[in-house]
């Protein structure tokens, strides 16, 4: 997809500052995400443990841990705003494209979070009532919560791999083979980190002087760290391309900090001592920062060259659009300074391109239509019939309905048409003398031929009402005599109305009279 372009508006900050801010804010966000997940997992398993042993009084401690969930999750959400902003500004096309490819799953994150947050807060505030209801609610909301990082990992993997996009949109996202392993290890690596961070947080901040709790959390910490080494190694091996240079250096430093920390924790665990905050937190911080640096560099190495291509394309596209800017802006400016409520404005904007500026049916688009637009200067009808046409259109013709305007606007359009073209007037007298015999002949012709479609009363027949377009209803709709004469003589193109030019002229005028006499209103 090398012909994609970046957005055309300038980036508001330099790439270096952007990447620096992205690193710092993402680290803060991830920290609280890990604490949120860690807190949820640890408190849930503690609850299970207590339930299994039937030691319900222990659930009070569950509450101690889970109470902090409210803070963790609130901060996790709010801190996520900055990295989301920065990645959308810095890697606009890769990020939005991946998100679009995952659209339903990506949007699903919101209800998943809402349900699991509300349930966990509910559990945190009212523990010690019905344990089995808690078991069900806890299981469901934990599963929902754990789905979220899975979606994020898949989205980020797609962000980093522009080469896969066309395949994804063509065949759907398929998590198979190497891709599946990479996703799995990356996801588990997040969960492992959540255990480690959750355990350390609660070890120092919520267990106070309780030896048993500290012991329990130490188990979680050791398990989490051992898992992280295994999963981390697997993740490293599943990376597309061997890590080199800076990436390798960062990850090695992180791993070293991890080894030191593991040794320290082991020593304390075997010596029955307790962990010191002054040693544990700095070690964990160093580990976290180096690992995240490694992650960011892997991502940058893959995306920066592509980003350069996108930005080059954008500046070329910008130049291409430059000539059209003046015209587009003046069009925009003029759209701000019109009164869009007047009947005249509606006519000129919505009707004139077919019916013509002078309503003679000769608008710029008239030539493109099989059924020509009506000459409105010749139409004589009623307000209620116009209302019907405006709200339904004329089926089988180009005439659309106009309920896109509210009633007042359409009434003002009617007033405009009447003011200029007398559309609500009666059809008026026949301009020529016709003999009684010709009228009699015309009546005969109407009854014999015309009424087949127009009906004896002039409002159509069962069959003709299904024509598209159908015949006009003569009881409510007429044309000026001259125009009616023209239609009878030449027919109406594109409709079932044939020409009757073989009838004597006087009879055709007679027909005009017959037809216009059917008007009731």
């Amino acid at each position: 997809m090398s012909d994609l372009t970046d957005l055309l508006l300038k980036k508001p900050l330099t790439d270096e500052v952007l990447r620096g801010l992205l690193f710092v804010t993402f680290a803060l966000h991830l920290l609280f995400v890990l604490l949120t997940i860690g807190t949820a997992v640890i408190s849930f398993f503690h609850f299970l443990h207590a339930l299994w042993r039937n030691q319900m009084q222990e659930l009070r401690w569950d509450r101690e841990i889970l109470k902090t969930f409210l803070g963790h999750k609130s901060l996790a959400v709010v801190l996520g705003v900055a990295p989301l902003l920065l990645i959308q500004v810095g890697f606009t096309v890769p990020f939005f494209t991946a998100v679009n490819l995952f659209a339903p799953f990506w949007m699903l994150i919101i209800p998943l979070l809402i349900i699991s947050f509300l349930t966990f807060d509910y559990l945190g505030h009212r523990v010690n009532t019905r344990p089995y209801a808690h078991l069900v609610a806890g299981t469901v909301s934990l599963l929902l919560l754990l789905t979220v990082p899975g979606i994020f990992v898949a989205v980020l993997m797609t962000v980093e791999d522009p080469g896969s996009w066309v395949k994804v949109i063509r065949d759907g996202y398929r998590l198979r083979g190497d891709l599946a392993f990479h996703w799995l290890f990356r996801y588990l690596h997040v969960l492992g980190a959540a255990l480690v961070f959750g355990a350390v947080f609660h070890y120092f901040l919520t267990s106070k002087e309780d030896k048993e709790k500290k012991h329990y959390l130490m188990h979680w910490l050791v398990t989490g760290m051992l898992l992280q080494f295994v999963i981390g190694a697997l993740l490293l091996s599943s990376l597309p391309g061997r890590p080199r240079g800076m990436v390798l250096a960062f990850i090695s430093m992180g791993a070293m900090a991890g080894v030191v920390m593991l040794l320290y924790v082991f020593q304390k665990a075997y010596g029955k001592g307790s962990l010191g905050m002054g040693t544990t937190i700095p070690l964990l911080a160093v580990l976290f920062v180096f690992m995240l640096l490694g992650r960011q560099f892997i991502q940058d190495l893959r995306l920066l060259p592509f980003q350069k291509v996108l930005e080059g394309n954008a500046s070329a596209y910008q130049d291409k659009l430059k000539p059209y800017e003046g015209q587009a802006l003046s069009h925009y400016l003029s759209s701000l300074n019109v009164s869009v409520s007047s009947g005249e404005w509606i006519y000129q904007q919505s009707c004139a391109f077919c019916h013509g500026e002078n309503a003679d049916g000769k608008g710029e688009e008239a030539g493109n239509l099989t059924v020509p637009p009506e000459d409105l200067t010749a139409v004589r009808t009623t307000r209620s019939n116009l209302r019907k046409i405006f709200s339904e259109g004329v089926g089988g013709s180009a005439m659309p309905y106009f309920t896109v305007f509210d009633r007042e606007k359409l009434e003002s359009l009617t007033d405009y048409l009447h003011g200029l073209y007398h559309i609500l007037d009666a059809p008026g007298p026949i301009p020529v003398q016709i003999s009684a015999k010709a009228v009699e002949e015309a009546n005969k012709q109407y009854a014999g031929i015309c009424s087949g479609c127009h009906g004896l009363d002039g409002n159509g027949t069962g069959i003709s009402r299904s024509f598209k377009p159908g015949p006009p209803d003569f009881t409510q709709y007429s044309l000026t005599p001259q125009r009616a004469f023209t239609v009878i003589t030449n027919g109406y193109p594109g409709t079932m109305m044939p020409p009757f030019r073989t009838l004597p002229e006087e009879v055709r005028w007679g027909l005009v009279k017959v037809v216009n006499d059917k008007r009731k209103q």
């Binding site: 997809m1 994609l4 957005l7 508001p12 900050l13 804010t25 409210l70 999750k73 609130s74 901060l75 959400v77 709010v78 801190l79 996520g80 705003v81 900055a82 902003l85 939005f96 494209t97 679009n100 995952f102 659209a103 339903p104 990506w106 949007m107 919101i110 979070l113 809402i114 947050f117 509300l118 807060d121 066309v166 949109i169 063509r170 659009l321 059209y324 800017e325 802006l329 925009y332 759209s335 701000l336 019109v338 009164s339 869009v340 904007q349 919505s350 391109f353 077919c354 493109n368 239509l369 099989t370 089988g396 013709s397 180009a398 659309p400 309920t403 305007f405 509210d406 009633r407 598209k468």
Partner: protein
């Protein structure tokens, strides 16, 4: 265009965003600003009156509010962003480039909001007696941060309707300090306190309280409601007076929609009934009539939510054809691209078309042109169904109307493409309206053309 298109089946993109956003506005205004401010005020009253009941009410009301705000309010707020990221990437991406620094500052303010409200919530039992006023001060700090948030976001929302000089000078100051910033900010504050006081009164009525306290609290929150609704009316009038008249002209239609546009009386009747219900509730609350207020509390809440939805609907609708006025149309076509596409074609400038579709397949072309030009608002078979809109039209009728949509209906963006693309789109739409074509994957506009596939 530059991004693939996804449309939410049945609901359409706009409706999904609207549902999420209205929920967010109700919580962020009514609870996060209004209710928490009133909880702080209640705590203050409790301290001044040395009233155990006011203190207890403030504490419990805050707990309810904090859980809903952090659990649903914040997530639905991020939700608006998540949904638009997936559905209108070019618009949200461009907006973020314009408003990067205000949004970055907003991140800091958001974070401070969360930190202060957490401190306020978790120190309630610990900071007592001598430290009580300090505790109230923290609550007040939260309210100030929340108002700063509302100010920044009003600037961004105002830009989407009245961008002032920005389309010409592209300067952040023109974009942020736009014409409707101040009236909209004050309007939103008034909405916050009006909603917050209705929530507070509802909480008093629906939880167990002594008769004496309930009377006091109802009178107090009834009074707050009255003042806020007055402020809301004044600021609402100011706001709608500031918006340019061509936009305002479609406000009535925006609520009625084409379904009810021929019976505008309906709008006035429904709004009058809503206003009456709300006024009666406020009146009875102020008169301390618990029974009458209790009967009206649920209708009053529903009516308030309805008014919020109505206001947001009008504001979103009347900006009409633009997502960023003077820059980007609602269908994510740049205003400058319109002329380019008329000359060179939209599909030639759509990398996804070239990468994915088989050249020469008219149905695929038509589907893609529809997706890019129309699917921001119209669905096939869902809300605002294009098949209903084109019912009875001829193919040449559709062809003729396409280039004039923006003139005919000023809130619709123009069709952007060559005459040949216009012909292709008209044929596709005609066949869709006649039910001759169905879609295989509606959300991506992959047509079932009877051939093996579109690849």
């Amino acid at each position: 265009m530059n991004f693939p298109i996804y449309q939410v089946p049945y609901l359409g993109n706009g409706m999904l965003i609207a549902l999420d956003a209205v929920l967010h506005v109700i919580i962020s205004h009514g609870l996060a600003i209004g209710a928490i401010a009133l909880a702080v005020l209640s705590e203050y009253i409790g301290m001044k009156k040395s009233s155990e009941e006011w203190e207890r009410f403030a504490r419990e009301f805050l707990r309810f509010t904090v859980i809903i705000t952090t659990g649903v309010g914040a997530t639905t707020g991020v939700g608006i962003w998540f949904i638009t990221s997936a559905l209108s990437p070019r618009a949200i991406g461009s907006m973020l480039r314009v408003f990067f620094w205000p949004w970055f500052i907003e991140w800091i303010v958001f974070t401070l909001e969360v930190i202060t409200v957490l401190i306020y919530y978790f120190t309630w039992d610990r900071w007592k007696a001598a430290r009580k006023s300090q505790h109230i001060f923290v609550g007040l700090g939260y309210v100030v941060f929340a108002c700063v948030s509302a100010f920044l976001i009003s600037g961004i929302l105002g830009f989407m309707l009245t961008p002032d000089g920005w389309p010409w000078d592209k300067r952040l100051t023109s974009a942020l300090f736009n014409l409707t910033l101040l009236p909209q900010f004050l309007l939103r504050l008034a909405i916050s306190f009006a909603l917050g006081s209705v929530f507070a009164a509802a909480y008093v009525l629906l939880t167990k309280r002594s008769v004496d306290f309930r009377g006091q609290a109802l009178r107090f929150f009834g009074g707050v409601s009255f003042v806020s609704v007055c402020a809301l009316s004044i600021n609402g009038w100011w706001y709608f007076r500031t918006v340019p008249s061509p936009f305002i002209s479609f406000s009535r239609f925006s609520v009625l929609t084409s379904r009810f546009s021929m019976t505008p009386e309906l709008l006035y009747v429904v709004n009058a009934i809503g206003a009456l219900v709300l006024s009666l509730f406020v009146f009875f609350a102020f008169r301390r009539s618990a029974l009458a207020a209790r009967l009206l509390v649920v209708p009053a809440l529903v009516v308030s939510f309805g008014f919020v939805a109505e206001f947001e609907r009008i504001r979103e609708f009347i900006r009409g054809p633009y997502l960023m006025p003077g820059y980007l149309y609602a269908n994510q076509v740049l205003i400058t691209e319109r002329t380019l596409f008329e000359k060179e074609g939209m599909l030639t400038h759509t990398p996804w078309y070239k990468a994915v579709a088989a050249p020469g397949d008219d149905i695929t072309k038509g589907a893609l042109l529809f997706a890019q030009n129309c699917s921001a608002c119209h669905t096939i078979g869902g809300i605002n169904d294009i098949r209903e809109r084109l019912k009875g039209r001829t193919e040449d009728g559709i062809f003729v109307i396409l280039p004039h949509t923006n003139r005919m209906v000023p809130y619709m963006p123009p069709f952007a493409g060559t005459d040949e693309e216009r012909r292709t789109t008209a044929r596709f739409l005609y066949q869709v309206a006649q039910r001759q074509i169905a879609l295989r994957a509606p959300s991506r506009y992959v047509p079932m053309s009877g051939r093996a596939g579109h690849e």
